[in-house]
Symmetry: C2
Subunit: 144 residues, 2 copies
C-alpha cells in the first residue's frame, strides 16, 4: 500500500485524523455524548443563533435531518430554540452555556494538532498548505 494515492484520498486522511483527535479530546473533557453529525451542525451556529434552514443548508443536509439533530442537541442541553423576533415562522437555534464552555476545549486540541503537523512538515509548507487549500475552496465550496 505504498502506491500513489489520489489527492482526494490524501486530503481525507489528515482530515479524519484531526476529527478523531478533537473527538477524543472532547470525550475526555466530558463531552462524550456529542456525535459527528451533531458537531457538524454545532460548528455552524452563530453567536446570536441561527435558523434551522440556514443550518441545514450549511451542513448540506435536509431540514428534517437538521431538525432531528437539533432535537438531540436540545435534549442533551447544548442548544435551545428561541422565537425569531424578525420572522414569526422561524426559530433561532442558540448555543447554551454548556456548549459555549466546550468551544475552547475543541479549539485547544485543533491548535495542538496543527502544531504537530507544522513541526513535521515545517512552517513554510504549513503556510503554503493553508494558502493552497483556501484557493481550492474557491472552486469547491458551494457555500463559502
Amino acid at each position: 500500500m505504498a502506491e500513489e494515492l489520489t489527492v482526494g484520498v490524501l486530503l481525507f486522511i489528515p482530515y479524519r485524523a484531526m476529527e478523531n483527535r478533537v473527538f477524543a479530546a472532547m470525550a475526555e473533557a466530558g463531552y462524550g455524548d456529542i456525535t459527528v453529525a451533531q458537531a457538524r451542525l454545532l460548528q455552524r451556529i452563530g453567536p446570536d443563533g441561527t435558523r434551522l434552514t440556514v443550518l441545514a443548508e450549511a451542513a448540506q443536509v435536509t431540514k428534517q435531518t437538521a431538525g432531528f439533530l437539533v432535537d438531540q442537541l436540545e435534549r442533551a442541553g447544548y442548544v435551545e430554540r428561541v422565537p425569531d423576533p424578525a420572522d414569526g415562522r422561524a426559530r433561532l437555534v442558540r448555543l447554551t452555556g454548556r456548549a459555549l464552555e466546550g468551544i475552547p476545549v475543541a479549539d485547544r486540541e485543533v491548535a495542538k494538532v496543527e502544531q504537530e503537523w507544522e513541526r513535521h512538515i515545517g512552517k513554510r509548507r504549513m503556510a503554503q498548505l493553508r494558502e493552497t487549500l483556501t484557493m481550492l475552496r474557491e472552486i469547491t465550496d458551494p457555500y463559502q
Copy 2:
C-alpha cells in the same frame, strides 16, 4: 463567512467536492446504486479477492458492518463470494465483471477533477500539495 477556517475543515471541503463529483459521474454511467460506504469497501478489494476480515480492517469498520455491505454488493451484482482454497473457514470477496467495468469511469472523473484543480491553483502548487499531503500522511495514517 470569509473567516479563516482551520486546516482540518479546509481539507474536508475539496475532499467532499471530489467525492460528490465521482459519485455523480458513476450515477450518470449507470452505477447509481452504489453508496459511499459500499464504495469504500469496493476500493479495497484486491485483484484475486480479499477476505472479509481484511476488508473490515482496511475500511475501519467491524466485520459485521463489512458483511452487511458485502451482502448488498453481492445482491447488486458487484461482488461474489468464493471459498478460500487456503482456509476452509474463510471466503474471498471478489469483484465481478460489472464492478471491473466501473473502475475506469471513476478514474476518469478523478483525473478530470484533478486537472480542474491544477488549472485553478497552478502546476507547481498542485505538486506541492500532493507532496505535503503525502508527508502529512506519515503521521496521520494509522493504516499506511
